[in-house]
């Protein structure tokens, strides 16, 4: 199935010994580098034409490697997503459940606030079959962390990893155009973890 080439192209930034031509690999790398630079400046609504131009590549080539905007964004943020997943599995073994979860949430907030467009890319579900969608990827990685915290009574039992993810990305989205920036995100995160108005 043609999906093989796509999956390979997107997620396999590390292992690429596949039936792909050398020039294709080269262009993929140029596109990814250009996309990182452009997204860092313009966020998730970056002009795809501009990315192709920066990479000195035809616009059709970009679309061949990344069929839609979300695919490009996923690739751009893939390393950061991976790092967060690794941190989640790491924290799941150490520390006490509550501080582990909080530390992870804070790391997530930091990433999402500092990388322009990352929060937006976590909310968009563009392709119907997004088994590899960044959001679910992160959610499944964080799930054990949340379950463990729930078991210890550190979070409400009905709170899922997806919920926490949604709240954090939401805060980032709402503060993105906001000048104060990352500091604001951190403040709001503590606000919601402690509770806006907890029952006495």
């Amino acid at each position: 199935m043609h999906d093989v080439s796509h999956t390979q192209a997107h997620t396999q930034a590390h292992t690429q010994a596949r039936p792909q031509r050398a020039d294709a690999r080269r262009n993929y790398a140029r596109l990814l580098a250009a996309a990182e630079a452009e997204v860092a400046v313009h966020g998730a609504e970056v002009s795809l034409e501009q990315v192709a131009r920066t990479a000195q590549v035809g616009s059709a080539t970009l679309r061949r490697h990344f069929p839609n905007r979300q695919a490009l964004l996923s690739a751009v943020f893939h390393q950061r997503i991976e790092a967060l997943c690794a941190l989640a599995t790491d924290l799941a073994t150490k520390d006490d459940p509550r501080t582990a979860l909080l530390e992870w949430l804070r790391a997530l907030a930091h990433y999402v606030a500092s990388a322009r467009g990352m929060a937006a890319s976590l909310t968009i579900a563009e392709s119907p079959d997004d088994a590899e969608h960044c959001f679910t990827y992160l959610a499944t990685a964080a799930d054990p962390l949340v379950r463990r915290a729930a078991a210890a009574g550190a979070v409400r039992a009905d709170a899922t990893a997806a919920d926490l993810l949604t709240v954090v990305t939401g805060i980032a989205l709402a503060t993105e155009h906001h000048p104060s920036g990352a500091a604001e995100v951190d403040r709001l995160l503590t606000l919601v973890t402690e509770g806006l108005s907890p029952r006495t």
Copy 2:
């Protein structure tokens, strides 16, 4: 000066308070009606051309009445904003501080979740001089409510009305493309008001 409808007064207060020509008023009304319909379908990223087309009006006429996208969105959501402000002042006198605030937050969440594009329009600060920007408008209206709750110890002292507003709109933004919709927003709101992980 302010004899005209509220919606009109809001957008045109700073440009001109003079009596408009009859055709201008008529076109304004048509544009607003068209915008409400289109925004309800396509959200905040609605095509301005499409709005003008639906209103059977030239695109320049739209730009004359609404100099930028945010102005149009502000007008579209003005009634809802007004209603929320009225509710805020109403609740500020009745009920106990905490339930009053919570009720208002819930009402806000409901509005923002049901009206497509409203959350987005609350985050965008397009024009530099937006003293009448919807967000600040709402924030000042909610401020007494928050202060009263803070005085009663129902919210953290460092939480401002703008903070609560940001959190709620953020949740709405993060769940907008999400199929589950308004129910999800409500769930997440209780989650953050109670606290994701309050200290024991």
